[in-house]
């Protein structure tokens, strides 16, 4: 089914699935594995702080993600500035053997709001070090362009506060970002339902990242699959182009009829 949609390329890697997933909040690592498999996701983000990168061969969480179609996307969750992020990214690359890094710099541990200044600095430095940088950011169109200049591989604007399941509260800004971007746009954070994911894909987002909505559902496996289908449907709709929307059926009193009198 997934061959029906265009493949997505980030940093030289091709993905058939445009649904990226997370590994937090699951009731067990077994449940996490089953849900991720059901979602068809090929890029799965892992918080460095949650895994034992120094003995990664023995880490239970990483063990469950060893599937040929799954690539790891280590994230820097927990760091507060660019310096800490760069250090964490290097540790991840060394231990896990991947250039991919999801840059999460949130000095605010309450709402986990990304710091745009530190993120821009870290992106620039990490891109120079050869990383495929995927920064988690506010839905800020100007920041997205600045990140492009700094060498980012993608941008990951939030749909609403992380973990809130509130959907696409930033829709107007996401539309501008999608319109202007030369790098893939991945809507990260806040996607609470498959319909939110489908909507983001219809709008032209290149991918979405979903964690809480799957992990915290009473049936994470079914929800993983539901998101898979929604993302495919949304992408297919985007590629097929939506029929135009009309707010009213027909104007009752035409304004241009005088031209034809």
């Amino acid at each position: 089914m997934q061959q029906d949609i265009k493949k997505l390329k980030i940093g030289g890697v091709e993905f058939s699935s445009r649904l990226f997933t997370g590994t937090g909040k699951f009731s067990s690592t077994e449940m996490m594995e089953q849900s991720i498999l059901a979602s068809g996701s090929e890029l799965v983000t892992v918080a460095l702080k949650r895994v034992d990168v120094r003995n990664h061969e023995q880490d239970d969480l990483l063990d469950k993600l060893r599937h040929p179609h799954i690539k790891l996307l280590p994230n820097t969750s927990g760091v507060r500035n660019a310096k800490e992020a760069i250090f964490a990214a290097q540790l991840a690359r060394e231990a896990l053997g991947t250039n991919l890094i999801k840059l999460e710099i949130h000095p605010d541990p309450k709402y986990l709001m990304p710091d745009p200044i530190e993120t821009l600095q870290a992106t620039e430095a990490l891109a120079k070090l050869g990383f495929v940088v995927m920064p988690y950011i506010h839905a800020d169109p100007v920041l997205c362009k600045r990140l492009e200049d700094a060498g980012t591989a993608a941008v990951m604007p939030l749909g609403s506060p992380i973990g809130s399941n509130k959907g696409l509260k930033t829709m107007d800004f996401l539309e501008i970002i999608i319109e202007q971007s030369n790098v893939p746009v991945i809507v990260d954070a806040g996607i609470g339902a498959p319909s939110d994911a489908a909507k983001a894909m219809e709008m032209g987002a290149d991918a979405v990242l979903v964690n809480t909505a799957i992990a915290v559902s009473p049936d994470p496996i079914a929800m993983g699959e539901a998101f898979k289908l929604a993302v495919i449907a949304g992408r297919m709709a985007h590629e097929a182009k939506l029929a135009p929307q009309y707010s009213s059926a027909h104007a009752s009193s035409p304004l241009t009829s005088f031209l034809y009198d």
Binding site: G24, K25, K49, R50, R80, P109, S164
Partner: protein, 370 residues
């Protein structure tokens, strides 16, 4: 320099207490349906008027906690380094006037305890001491941190309040979190419970979270000892303190504990008894009031209570705890700070957590991040 004391001094204990007890069912309904909850809403949620709403509060607390923290419980264990103490605290087994043998772990002994704790599976540890500034001082803590850090991903401390520059010296060594409980925000009662020693200085203790915030600590823990005074009023002041700190030191994370006074040899009987129902009410009230704050539950509580309250908003738990220095390996029979209730092993607790559909998490930090 902003200090919590300036805000605290604008409140009167008696007025706060009266306003909590005057809350009505309508106030509780409003608090439950509000988007962001205010301190007035919190008062309603901890008031007697909220008692009939306990099940609804528990359902909300459960759902909010899962959304924010997921189906996981963080596990940690205390490591008591010393029971030497120059303070007299009427409720504590380490009190200066309690005639017991005192012990401060040597470097060798710390490492033996560390090995025993690692054997149990722990990766997050909480270092605990009394307050004996001649022997257990900042230099001792520096040494202890240097010894302990290589073995754990996350190290916290619950020791005497320190100066800002002392915290600034410990944080770069890997210190992640500091817990400093005010015990009670009732100024006069505080004096009665802490008649002697450095701890008798109410204001210095009250200013500790400010000093920690300025020093840039990752996380700090607040709380009161439940049983000393009216728990509702004390909890309001804890919430007030939390709200102030969150705005002031927005880069720090916060956790709340609600230790109920436990018996120890020759100790004080609680002035105020808090029932299980009331503790559940308090836990849910904190969660509904503040969706992001961590809530921690120790082995002071019983097996049955801990099993059942796990889903109601708790984010971290200790297990297999010993509250005496050397308790894990060096000298298992020495005097405890307080009697623990839930004596199950960490493995048993982890099993219980799994059986409830939650993942026990041993590691949620990495020294590389700080």
């Amino acid at each position: 320099m902003t200090e919590f004391k300036a805000l605290f001094d604008t409140y009167s204990w008696e007025e706060v207490k009266q306003s909590i007890y005057a809350k009505t069912a309508a106030d509780v309904e409003r608090a439950l349906s509000a988007g962001k909850r205010s301190l007035e809403d919190f008062k309603a949620l901890i008031s007697p008027a909220a008692e009939p709403y306990l099940e609804r509060m528990a359902q909300m607390s459960h759902a909010i906690s899962q959304k924010r923290f997921g189906k996981v419980i963080q596990l940690y264990v205390p490591l008591y380094l010393s029971n030497e103490c120059n303070n007299i605290c009427t409720y504590c087994g380490f009190s200066f006037d309690n005639k017991v043998r005192r012990k401060t772990l040597s470097e060798k002994e710390i490492l033996r305890e560390v090995a025993a704790i690692k054997e149990m599976g722990y990766d997050h540890v909480l270092l605990v001491t009394g307050e004996a500034n001649h022997t257990v001082h900042v230099d001792y803590f520096k040494k202890a941190l240097d010894l302990v850090m290589p073995h754990f991903s996350n190290v916290s401390m619950e020791v005497q309040p320190l100066d800002q520059d002392e915290y600034e010296a410990l944080i770069p060594r890997g210190l992640h979190a500091v817990l400093v409980y005010q015990e009670t925000y009732h100024r006069e009662d505080y004096k009665i419970h802490h008649p002697k020693g450095k701890k008798s200085n109410f204001n210095y203790r009250l200013g500790t979270p400010d000093r920690l915030g300025r020093a840039g600590i990752h996380k700090m823990g607040l709380g009161v000892l439940i049983g000393l005074e009216d728990w509702r009023t004390d909890s309001f002041f804890t919430a007030l303190h939390l709200s102030y700190l969150e705005k002031q030191y927005w880069k720090s994370k916060y956790s709340i504990s609600f230790p109920r006074l436990r018996p120890f040899s020759g100790g004080l009987e609680p002035k105020v008894n808090m029932s299980d129902r009331e503790l559940v009410q308090l836990i849910c009230a904190y969660r509904i009031f503040n969706e992001e704050v961590e809530l921690s539950l120790s082995t002071r509580e019983s097996e049955v209570f801990r099993n059942n309250v796990l889903k109601l908003g708790i984010t971290s738990m200790s297990a297999g705890s010993k509250t005496n220095p050397g308790g894990y390996a060096v000298e298992p029979q020495a005097l405890e700070q307080f009697e623990i209730d839930d004596e199950r092993s960490p493995a048993q607790i982890a099993q219980m957590i799994k059986a409830q559909g939650y993942e026990p998490v041993w590691k949620d930090w990495d020294v590389a991040l700080s």
